[in-house]
């Protein structure tokens, strides 16, 4: 029996009505172990104009590299206070921000280990299905051996790596088109 999956449709301009009630901009309560970080950025369209009606969803492992999900069979502890899910929307300047902890390393294909990363789904008017990308952390030596970054052309990998800010925290932008277009994945 095979039923084809239902077709995706855009979230449209008014998703806030349905989805804003469950925004999650702080993924980790204060007592969750891990290195706390603030990640902020902007979403820009093909004209470089801010996208003021975008929604980003985040998915990550805890600091031990364990996902709060039954299909993660690793013998590592799940922290009941940390779901690993975030949902943020952009403001009138196209900006978003969220607070979380740096995830641990999780298994990759063929016995590899992935570098710490956060999965991101991007939704907006004008996107008929979500875009999927990743946030990696700068200066992590594991990035060099990351099995997913290895699929990305070298000159485009930088779009997936957050930039440290002098005042603390990281900047990571979603560039929909152009020279610095963010890498989006296909599964």
């Amino acid at each position: 029996m095979h039923l084809p999956a239902t077709a995706s449709q855009t979230v449209g301009p008014y998703f806030a009505i349905g989805l804003d009630a469950l925004l999650r901009t702080d993924l980790a309560p204060a007592d969750v172990p891990g290195r706390r970080v603030m990640i902020a950025g902007r979403v820009l369209d093909g004209d470089g104009a801010p996208v003021t009606d975008a929604l980003l969803e985040l998915w990550q492992a805890n600091a031990e590299g364990k996902y709060a999900h039954p299909d993660d069979g690793q013998e590592r502890a799940v922290d009941p206070r940390f779901q690993g899910f975030g949902r943020v929307s952009t403001d009138a300047t196209g900006a978003f921000r969220f607070a979380t902890i740096v995830p641990g390393r999780v298994p990759g294909p063929d016995g590899t280990l992935q570098a710490p990363h956060i999965l991101v789904s991007v939704f907006m008017r004008g996107l008929l299905k979500q875009l999927v990308t990743r946030i990696y952390f700068p200066d992590d030596t594991a990035n060099a051996g990351d099995p997913v970054l290895a699929f990305v052309p070298t000159e485009r990998r930088g779009t997936l790596i957050a930039r440290p800010e002098p005042a603390g925290g990281f900047t990571w932008n979603v560039i929909l088109q152009g020279e610095d277009e963010t890498v989006f994945f296909d599964f």
């Binding site: 239902t6 009505i17 349905g18 999900h69 779901q83 016995g111 789904s121 004008g126 996107l127």
Partner: protein, 235 residues
């Protein structure tokens, strides 16, 4: 080794492409470079188990009971099942819905359509599927409304749906339409999916079993999320 059971890719034509020129907003918002194809990892085949603590408080599955009075419009019941591509139910997953009112107006600051706001209608609902993947909510039938995509452009009546499913890769946002809507053939968003059968599956069916006597017409809308192989990939 941590083998993952990968989720299936979409059958050709059953999902929209990012660039769909007749939907003008896609022109500046769709990627211009090829997507990078990568193997599914533990990160993608897991996903949030979210919203279980956010439903149940208040009439979130009855959009006609969220204010002091009843909203204007034709009361309807919408129900269906959430299944995977094997036809197995997707139990206990969050379903979020939103829509405009019967006059075709969203309760949103950016909606400038000159149609009345209904003080008794917010247009937001959420619920969990039951153990058999069933969901049900009560609302009013949304109106059609104009948009500025092209000359004399009107969106067919629709309800937005957001679903999670079991994994990051099963996440789905879609729209449910109504049978016999004369605006469907002209709607670029509805027609963004190439396969006509895939489009038709976005149209709910009028359903006597869901219809409740002396209360409301019923519409049935089943939703299928990505499925996956029964056995792990060797990678």
């Amino acid at each position: 080794m941590h083998p993952v059971r990968p989720y299936w890719r979409a059958l050709p034509g059953t999902q929209p492409e990012y660039l769909h020129p007749t939907y003008t907003s896609t022109a500046k918002r769709s990627p211009t470079r090829p997507l990078v194809r990568m193997p599914q990892t533990l990160s993608e085949v897991t996903g949030p188990i979210f919203g279980h603590d956010a439903v149940g408080a208040g009439p979130q599955d009855d959009l006609t009971k969220q204010h002091a009075g009843e909203p204007l419009g034709e009361r309807i019941v919408v129900s269906g099942r959430v299944l995977d591509e094997d036809g197995q139910p997707v139990p206990h997953t969050l379903v979020e819905v939103w829509q405009c009112n019967a006059a075709g107006r969203y309760l949103h600051v950016n909606d400038r359509h000159d149609a009345p706001i209904d003080p008794n209608f917010s247009g937001c609902g959420r619920m969990l599927t039951d153990a058999e993947g069933r969901y049900r909510f009560v609302t009013i039938k949304p109106g059609a409304y104009p948009w500025r995509n092209h000359y004399n452009a009107w969106r067919p009546a629709h309800i937005h749906f957001s679903l999670f499913g079991r994994a990051f890769l099963t996440r789905l946002v879609t729209q449910m339409y109504f049978p016999g809507d004369p605006l469907l053939p002209a709607d670029p968003i509805f027609n963004s999916t190439a396969d006509p059968m895939a489009r038709d599956r976005l149209v709910s069916t009028f359903d006597w079993e869901t219809t409740e006597p002396e209360f409301a017409l019923g519409y049935r809308f089943d939703i299928v999320l990505r499925g996956r192989d029964a056995t792990p990939a060797s990678a």
